[in-house]
Symmetry: C2
Amino acid sequence: MKKKSLLEDGPTKKIFETDDPDLQIVEFKDAEAIYDDEHINAVKGKADVNSQLSSQLLEYLQGFHVPTYFVRTEPKHSMVVRTLDIIPIQLMMRNCAAGTLCKRFGLNEGKVLDIPILEYYLKNNTDEYQLINSSHAVSFSLATADELRTIDRLASKINAVLKSFFERRDIKLVDFKLEFGRHKGKLMVGGEISLDTFRLWDISDEGYFDKKKFSLAGDRAEPGFEEIKNRLFSTD
Amino acid sequence: MKKKSLLEDGPTKKIFETDDPDLQIVEFKDAEAIYDDEHINAVKGKADVNSQLSSQLLEYLQGFHVPTYFVRTEPKHSMVVRTLDIIPIQLMMRNCAAGTLCKRFGLNEGKVLDIPILEYYLKNNTDEYQLINSSHAVSFSLATADELRTIDRLASKINAVLKSFFERRDIKLVDFKLEFGRHKGKLMVGGEISLDTFRLWDISDEGYFDKKKFSLAGDRAEPGFEEIKNRLFSTD
């Protein structure tokens, strides 16, 4: 398989086509990201952690029969993935109140939600994605009602799997982003599952946790790097 | 049944308790209203049209086996209704793009939606209700998932019934608000179905309709009153 031309140069990763139309290469970048209105700084070494994390978690999910576009890891912070027809909806799964959810509804940060909240945002070409619901998605022909039911079911399963993965590492999965696409008509998880796409808190810091510590959003991000890698990859 | 003390003095109607705890009296006002970001002026005679319209349409819906809180009309622009435990969600059903939907998604006003859009807004004590989805509603304990399924089904049926009612009068039902409540545990339509809670356009004015004409939102509202009453109540 040969890496060919750059198809997309996104904020946190590049996508290359290959000589196989069914496969693409995703290359992670040490770049700034925006997560739920928070800026996540460009940090040297972030691409390394994010590519490891994404590859391992996407593969880990496949072990739970969650279809993902991941095929294998590649050198240079990259992974080989299945070519997707991306559904332009960014999903946000929330287990605790944080970020924009607190702003919108006046909730206290850290409040555990009795039932997780799953939000859809319309991915447009602006910085501010619009909250939509399933009837907007169907009416705007982004996905069929059947596809959305499958997506909701998979998102809920992914939440259960990842929550448990992080809890075993004493980390609380506060919320995370997901995206889906179709490969030969079959729905699967695309994008990335990385430090840029979830908000993690140390489980021991109840109340006054350092919420930036594992999200790479704050000043302490760089020194925390080795700790993150150790916590995430040393067991399981 | 005796009318007793004022329970609520809302923007467009007053609610009174009665000596029967299961029944209340709703009295319409000639007051200003806000509909999907549009101001609808206070107009003398509006309470008269709105009480007629609400009473007749709520009763009309019951004929299609849609449960509503309407019991009977009363003098002084009033109706007797069943006491409700109100679900604090304002529903918005949209058949064509207009108002805030156009603003949010850059749609052309008047675009017919292939599939109607049903939105939930959280009724809080501010002027700006927040768009939510069913998982917010369940997580915030506003309603159960089962109740929301029933509400969605009823909203879709109400849309079909009202659309057809207005089409027979050469009026296009662009969008409308709905609210639901529980009476002895049973879900039913509450609130009002009036000129303050829908956007109607003359069907013949395709393209350059006077969108304010039937919504009472513009300067031409008052002169159009008799026409509205004639169009709505003279046939069927």
